[in-house]
Subunit: 401 residues, 2 copies
């Protein structure tokens, strides 16, 4: 008998038919003799509908009240799933985040998990119940409802898997695993049987939307074995775990992120402290910077380019313009017609040829590289948005073709 945590996202529970499907998947595991804990997201468009309703009343509602409102989305889908499971004749109970012992800090709308008190969940499992937990939410020390922000339901699942020492944390999605590239872009993309936490982390943060990177970080820290698989097809998915087999491929996948914008400050003074001033300013305004590139100075000036999320571009641009005098640059260039394409693989660190092969493939396809960023297990390039599909295809062809 294993203890399995299963997580179903919003599209997997979007309507009654899908809820019935999830009920079948969940009860099958219980019938097979496993203890089952299920984390659910809000149904389909529920969260967006609630956001819209609130925005119609007040565009700057407090985050405390927004959490109170949005947490209902997961509570409703949790109870509806329990009701669907009751119909199949299985013992089941749904719990809100606070009932399940999910304790967070008070940073409403993007709270951090402080600890899980799994007593109630354990008690329900001992009673042979399937336990459904509303994902994405917890409670702070004042007894107020919090939500844990982006990737919250994946993270809830991994947190409970860690706390309950589950044998496996199954993340059900609308794809059937982690692919070497987005199958919608690369027709020959292959499903991976397994991938390491580090590779998954790079893929996730580079734009592969299959798992929230925050949940992968937590899984890595607490050594929670994850399987990413389909809600709708009954076949094995991709296992994400600490170490994958030695004969690992150099490159495990190609990721792509079109939600990026580039800002270049041209003709900055080539003196110490310039970069620090720029990035401190951005950090103070909570604008996350991804790739940073600084040119070698000439004529006592230098250029600094960096990328931000597209949604942050207007703020970042305004910030740079407001501080033109203090930052002392000659020109500001921005572009949001760009794409970040990355090759990821733990095998890369011992194979210095990977970057070269990637650049060659791009050159062969006539794709111009604007910026390059590398880590031990990934190489990212910034290119024209128009070249994005072709770039993913030729890089995938180079390593998996």
């Amino acid at each position: 008998m294993s203890l399995i945590v299963k997580k179903f996202g919003g599209s997997s529970v979007a309507d009654n038919e899908k809820l019935r499907n999830v009920a079948r998947v969940v009860t099958k595991s219980h019938a097979d003799g496993h203890q089952v804990v299920v984390i659910v997201s809000a149904q389909g468009d529920t969260t967006d509908d609630l956001l819209e309703k609130a925005a119609g009343l007040n565009k700057s509602a407090s985050r405390r009240e927004m959490d109170m409102l949005l947490a209902c989305g997961e509570q409703m889908s949790a109870s509806l799933l329990a009701i669907a499971i009751e119909k199949l004749g299985f013992p089941v109970i749904s719990l809100t985040g606070w009932q399940a012992g999910m304790q967070t800090d008070s940073n409403h709308s993007s709270a951090r998990i402080k600890k899980i008190d799994p007593e109630r969940v354990r008690m329900e499992l001992d009673k042979n119940n399937i336990v459904i937990i509303a994902g994405f939410q917890g409670i702070n020390k004042f007894g107020d409802v919090t939500t844990i922000g982006r990737g919250g339901s994946d993270t809830t699942a991994v947190a409970f898997a860690a706390s309950l020492k589950a044998d496996l944390c199954k993340i059900y999605t609308d794809v059937d695993g982690v692919y070497t590239a987005d199958p919608r872009v690369v027709s020959g993309a292959r499903k991976l049987n397994e991938i390491s936490f580090d590779e998954m982390l790079e893929l996730a943060s580079l734009g592969a939307q299959v798992l929230a990177s925050r949940s992968v970080e937590m899984a890595k820290r607490f050594r929670v074995k994850i399987e990413v698989l389909s809600s709708f097809r009954d076949c094995p998915g991709t296992i994400v775990k600490e170490v994958v087999k030695m004969e690992n491929m150099q490159v495990s996948g190609v990721a792509r992120d079109n939600n990026v914008a580039r800002i270049a400050l041209i003709g900055l003074q080539d003196v110490p402290g310039v970069a620090s001033r720029i990035f401190t300013l951005l950090a103070q305004h909570k604008i996350n910077v991804d790739i940073i590139l600084q040119s070698i100075g000439r004529h006592e000036t230098k250029d600094i380019s960096f990328t931000v999320a597209k949604s942050n571009l207007p703020d970042a641009r305004a910030l740079m313009e407001d501080h033109r005098d203090s930052l002392c640059y000659e020109a500001l260039e921005v572009s949001d017609q760009i794409s970040k394409v990355s090759a990821v693989g733990a095998g890369m660190v011992n194979n210095p040829g990977v970057a070269a092969r990637m650049f060659e493939a791009l050159a062969g396809a006539g794709v111009n590289i604007q910026m390059i960023s590398t880590s031990e297990i990934k190489v990212s390039v910034l290119i024209d948005l128009a070249d994005s599909d072709r770039a993913v295809q030729v890089i995938h062809q180079e390593f998996f073709g």
Copy 2:
């Protein structure tokens, strides 16, 4: 400075425009220097929508899970109202039933209130916050969400008013007070300035849908002064309180209930224990009986007639038919084409002429009376459904015309 509890029903918070209206009403009291606690129902059709969704999955869902689901309705409207109030720049916080300290027994879907621990509400009032509480819900000793059933939001309001020793409990509805008869039926119906708990109780239980009788009972027990008034028009409503002025009218109102059905058992044996067997049987099947009438025996038989809610008629009828042999009656007659019309008034007890005047008015209008039931402060008659409007009109004319 007074402490005022205000309750808004589902139709008063049905959409964003109505929520903004409620926000204005609530903040006006706060601006006037009062402490304000607001109890809200779920928005308009939310509860029905959730019931329908659940029924699509499972027609016999557990009441525990239904409570978990339905409680979201009030939580959502509470947070939305708080968000609308924030927009107006007032300090506000929304609380679920459990956060507000509402403790109930474990009888899911129709839980009884055990006690209210008002500590959190008091703390928020001390911080000058307007406190919005999700009505209709509480928590049991196991930490599970419960709902308190019919009239739950009215009852929540009165319970908090009692617990907080509020100066006034204002129940906002879509009518502007308690009338001497339904204004849709009787054009000359008059709004009452005040009415006693007992009269209100009779009116509520006799079909006037303005206040849940359960909430009136609680208000009477804890001496909570209630005002029933309009959410949309800014004018005084009807005060419900312990004692009303001495020069009280004999009759304070005319009520009507068309949700009744009559069952007659003809030719029962005229021996002791017959009535007891019938009504024990009905009670065992949780069928509430309202008016009971037993004819004087002739030829050693007697007839017993009683009324039940229309929705209980099929069950009650089947029950009587199943026990025909043991109950030993000659014939069974049922009708659901009937109406119960009542005159209510604390002044009645000292004015024996009231019933006679009522019967005369009905006779003058050619309305045949099928059954009569009286108490110290009301006279009810059962008549043909087709005569119902006319009966209400002539009785109202007799006492108020």
